[in-house]
Amino acid sequence: MSVKLRQEDEQMLNGQKGPAAQMAMRIMVRMADVVDAPEMMDVSQAHIDGCGLLSETGLEFAETLAAKRAKVSIPTTLNMGPLDLQNWRQFGVSENFAAKAIRQAKAYTDMGCIPTWTCAPYQSYLTPRFGQQLAWGESNAICYANSVLGARTNRYGDFIDICAAITGRVPKCGLHLKQNRKGQILLRLVDINPAIMQSNAFFAVLGHLTGSLADDKIPVIEGLPVKASSDQLKAFCAAAASSGALALFHAIGITPEANTLEEAFQGEQPERAIDIHLSDLQKAASELSTAHEGINLDLVVLGCPHFSFDEFRQLAELIKAHKEAGQTLHPDVRFIVISSQTSYSLLQRSEFMNTLTDFGVEITLDTCMFHTPIVSKDTKVIMTNSGKCAYYAPGELSVQVAFANMAECVDSAVKGLVCKKESLWKKS
């Protein structure tokens, strides 16, 4: 052990603060050695990813800590979990699975975590502030917190997240330190039609491309529209943290540490500059799909990461237009939207809730397509507007996937076939 500890750290490590803090600190100290951190530092908020996947070992880990009477020492939010805690029965989840998922949820809430159950915590509750030191899990949330909010977190994986929440301490290294947050490579958007850049799908595709281009470098993007919305940046982060390990990017004029190129690179020169043309985006978009145009569609999945109120509104408007044209959801297609309790409570107060449910949209909360068993085994082709969902679905769900924008997803759900206009990627 080479990391320098303060007195309270030592007390945790030798068990004076109880067995849970001892186990948590022992893991933190071993991790400090892994990353060669010279000392530990405070964090003031945590977001737990480890509550998401239901596995025997993950459950045992959480229950072991809870049985040792672990308590979080800083405000701690929870990522989505393996179960829609209220509506799991109507989605046909087995009693056995649900019982274990509820045990895991209880272990985390018993430790004092806040039951936010969302993978878009930055659109929910306790949104971090600029410069705040965090221990966040969930790859898209890590990217969003660092880049869009200008808060500071490393990529905290399952299990170290709760250890950081219990101890309030993390190894002092990486993106917690300003000097490690400077841009390293420059990505320039060249001759991209501004109309294309208004679409959320553009952000998912650019994210997918950026994740694979950046490798382990911090990219700086020049040429994004200043009006980029929270949902668009969410789509970017989710895709970029799936095709790559992206934990921080800067976008000139948009993200808070990048008002200028000079600020983004902290006065240094980029290691290299890459121009991104429309053809690169077209190629990246095609990489996200494995299903062919015209194939029978079984399922549309939206809300990866969790749908916001504004995304519900956009979906309702698209559905309304089909309804007015006398079109309904194709009988062979399921349409699932995943969201958080927070966005859903706003939706319940809106006038368009019925538009969604009348169409046949099934809304599930607190959970994730990949972590809860609600996709039936005979599902072969899914469609999504999420770069992250498109990236992982073939492996995790053994399905073919078609990536498209939200309008194309609705259109295809009506027709029962994968239909993409591709207009988004055509030169005007």
Partner: protein, 141 residues
């Protein structure tokens, strides 16, 4: 022919096995099935290969922060790689191995090698990993 390389022990331990080599990074969650050890990332060059018992040699992890859980689950299920050799330290994978050690006293050794050494390992080389980060390579004839 035996060759000896000196690496950094990220998670110290002893192991041996045949090398499974990839030039591509991989996300363990969404990339490896923790019940079978199969590489299920259908976009990955090793899609369909089994990591169980192999010394899995790839540049670094990427993607999901749930990869630590996937590694731990695969260790508990007995389908994990015998050891992992990377080019860069991946804290999320190290974590999965360390937490497994804390809970079950079972870890997957992880070693980081310098670029030249890393790329000198060939598919199916027999590798022996020592707790101090030494990697012995025996190339099959």
């Amino acid at each position: 022919m035996e060759k000896i390389l000196t690496g950094k022990p990220v998670v110290a331990g002893s192991a041996e096995g045949a090398a499974l080599v990839s030039k591509e990074p991989i996300s363990f969650w969404g990339g490896i099935c923790p019940r079978t050890g199969e590489i299920i990332d259908r976009r990955h060059e090793l899609s369909g290969a089994i990591v169980t018992g192999r010394v899995f040699v790839f540049p670094q992890g990427r993607g999901s922060s749930t990869s630590s859980a996937t590694l731990m689950e695969s260790i508990a299920a007995g389908v994990a790689p015998a050891a992992i050799i990377n080019l860069k330290v991946d804290p999320i994978l190290a974590l999965g191995s360390i937490v497994s050690d804390e809970l079950y006293h079972q870890a997957v050794p992880i070693v980081v090698l310098k670029e030249k050494d890393f790329f000198s390992i060939k598919e199916n080389d027999h590798l022996t990993i020592e707790p101090d980060g030494t990697v012995k390579i025996n190339t099959p004839p």
